[in-house]
């Protein structure tokens, strides 16, 4: 029997219930999972800084009533229409495909719209009043528990970040740092400055893996600063804190809450082209907020925009001072037909054998699709070789186990291309000719190798069935970064 987190009707606090005890009017908050995977103590809900449905407020309705009358909370309609183009005022969705019309009993109209984009957080319809609750949060005297040193390059970038927060003129900065430049540590001075100024911070990143990797490091560095991690299925979804590390998706839950917004991997999927996420991040930020964009491969448009005002901080070297590993291109023929026939492509096999013989490192193999990752896993059928992808139920556990060296090799789709670090790996890309491996993706993936001071090197192989422009460009970019 699996269990879920639910907020029972009329209650504010979520509780864990076995699935067979869930009633129809309970607000289900999580995926069904075995009890061992659900934390035993309930998360404490905080409403501050949120856009909420009144159904989420039941127990505090008296407070809200008073606040509405006093004008301290704002009310808006769920979905507004401008010349018949709808916008969801909670998640910012403007994609017509993501709205559906239904015969609504509440407003008695058969053309009431609802938003399908954020329906998992409760249904927002045209006739739904949305409550926007502002924030008051305690800020501690910051204490930094980190004894490392920043390199000169890191220090320079870090200072630039802090300066923007101290002076009012600029409100954007691009931090252009090679993979493995030590971005997290560079943020520490900025976090200290922000908290001292009683400012709220958001670190938004496209991937759950990155949130999970960042949060323990931040908590260790700032033991007395309350910070929360938000991602799909996170138990901290109801809380607020001065420092929030969130997937871009989950920032939808906020309304004009953050003074400092740090957007990791500005060029990354899905932030790069999903307008609704851009809206979400902008809505979560106060109008006066400062924006920091972090990227190893920033989009040209952003570079152009910020170059003129000197709003770019550059870090060309990794924190350990060694150059980035340069990928080698290896032709391995029609690998796909082997995989489809349930066979291991012989050239891939040879490269894997050689890696195992000659290198002490673990191996990351990137593949173009979930299907290939799963097929490859079953073809190789070795206990110490496992695949992981965005649809994988045990994704978190597997990545953790790989980090603890319980597997020799991890086969992955591009979900791991960014942010996630392993100290000592060689990296193969199988099918590097595939369109999913853009220049940015290839540079990022290559950047997974040689991350630690103990092992600053690592082999990167693009195994392909025909060289692409993206592959050549990626190699060129990496070489260029190494020259600077």
């Amino acid at each position: 029997m699996k269990c879920v987190w639910v907020v029972p009707k009329g209650q504010l606090e979520p509780v864990v219930l076995p699935c067979d005890l869930v009633q129809q009017d309970d607000d289900v908050q999580s995926e069904a999972a075995v009890i061992t995977h659900l934390k035993p103590s309930p998360p404490l809900p905080t409403l501050e800084g949120k856009s909420l449905l009144t159904s989420e407020l039941t127990d505090q309705q008296i407070v809200t009533r008073r606040q509405l009358i006093a004008g301290t909370v704002q009310l808006s309609i769920g979905i507004s229409l401008k010349r018949s183009a709808p916008t969801c005022n909670r998640c910012g969705n403007q994609d017509k495909e993501q709205f559906a019309m239904f015969d609504c009993y509440w407003c008695g109209r058969n053309e009431c719209l609802y938003c399908r984009s954020c329906i998992m957080m409760g249904k927002v319809t045209t006739c739904t009043p949305l409550v926007h609750i502002p924030i008051t949060e305690p800020f501690p005297k910051t204490r930094l528990n980190w004894h490392g040193l920043l390199t000169d390059a890191q220090k320079r970038a870090s200072n630039q970040m802090v300066e923007i927060l101290q002076h009012r003129t600029d409100n954007e900065l691009l931090v252009w740092a090679v993979c493995g430049a030590g971005k997290t540590e560079m943020l520490f001075p900025l976090i200290i400055e922000a908290i001292d100024q009683k400012k709220t911070l958001l670190i938004a990143t496209p991937r759950t893996d990155v949130v999970l990797e960042l949060i323990p490091r931040i908590r260790q560095a700032f033991p007395n600063l309350r910070s929360i991690a938000l991602y799909g299925g996170s138990e901290e979804r109801f809380q607020s804190a001065p420092l929030v590390i969130s997937t871009t998706h989950q920032t939808r839950r906020y309304f004009q809450y953050f003074d400092v917004v740090i957007i990791d991997e500005i060029d990354a999927f899905p932030y790069h082209y999903d307008k609704s996420l851009r809206f979400a991040v902008n809505k979560a930020a106060k109008p006066s907020a400062k924006f920091y964009y972090l990227s190893a491969t920033p989009p040209q448009s952003l570079i152009k925009k910020l170059k003129t005002n000197n709003q770019i901080a550059m870090i060309n070297r990794r924190y350990h001072g060694f150059p980035l590993p340069v990928p080698s291109l290896k032709w391995i023929g029609d690998w796909r037909s082997y995989v489809e026939r349930g066979k291991l492509p012989p050239k891939l096999k040879a490269w894997m054998n050689r890696q195992e013989r000659e290198s002490d490192r673990q191996l990351l193999i990137f593949v173009p699709s979930i299907n290939v990752s799963e097929r490859l896993e079953s073809i190789i059928a070795r206990k110490d070789i496992i695949c992981v992808h965005s649809q994988h139920a045990k994704r978190k556990e597997i990545v953790e186990a790989f980090r603890h060296k319980q597997y020799h090799c991890l086969i992955t789709t591009t979900i791991l291309e960014r942010g996630v670090t392993f100290p000592s790996v060689d990296v193969f890309i199988l099918g590097a000719e595939n369109d999913v491996f853009t220049i940015a993706a290839l540079v990022q993936i290559a950047g997974r190798a040689g991350r630690s001071l103990e092992d600053p090197k690592g082999d990167v192989l693009f195994l392909h069935d025909g060289t692409t422009i993206a592959m050549k460009q990626a190699v060129k970019q990496i070489k260029r970064m190494n020259e600077r």
Binding site: V28, F102, I119
Partner: protein, 231 residues
Amino acid sequence: MRDEQLLYCQKPIDEQLSWDTLLRREYRRFCYACSQQMIWINALHCSRCYRPQADSSVCLDCVRWEKSTYWSNKLSRNVSLLSYNNWAQDFVARFKFRRDVVLAKAFEQELKRMYARNFNQHLIVPIPLSEKRMIERGFNQSEVIARCIRTNITDVLIRVIHEEKTSKKLRWQRVAGRSRPFEVTDRKSVMLKNVVLVDDIYTTGATVRKAATVLLEAGATSVSSMTLFRS
């Protein structure tokens, strides 16, 4: 421009194109993974209630219903589209409890076909919700399903007492209850008509039989039911 998405899975359609799912009928509504988990009730099922089983005899549940003098001959038969498995539970959770109303459209074709094959010309009567539930949910899932079949439906039932909390009772305790939760608002419209009730799930068959009872009393010639799922 955003890619066109699957109605249910909300994944871009073209992700599916590379593998062998093109010809499946779930295409454009469900992904390959979903279509693997959905169990359409085809040849083998109870001839009375569509319970999936190894042959097409009348199942024990139906035998028991028909043994009871009170309940026998209330419901002519039930017809369902899919087996109520884990996948179906997730679907219902999103459709009914998350209230993603448009999802019913995913089964529009199949519902229309099932109706035409089994109940052509029958009046379509959705199982109603109580006023209270209606206010909570904002729509009646059975009515939404019914309107997928045809916009012209006969919404003549009302629910006069609030549904019991069914989950707390055992299957057969529920069946024994002879409460009368339904009333017919317009008797004339069902007089001497064949009626098909529409609901989302057929679990024990108690709900549709209770509805059938009042419809027969109002003069309906026969009452059958069709549902999306059969558990």
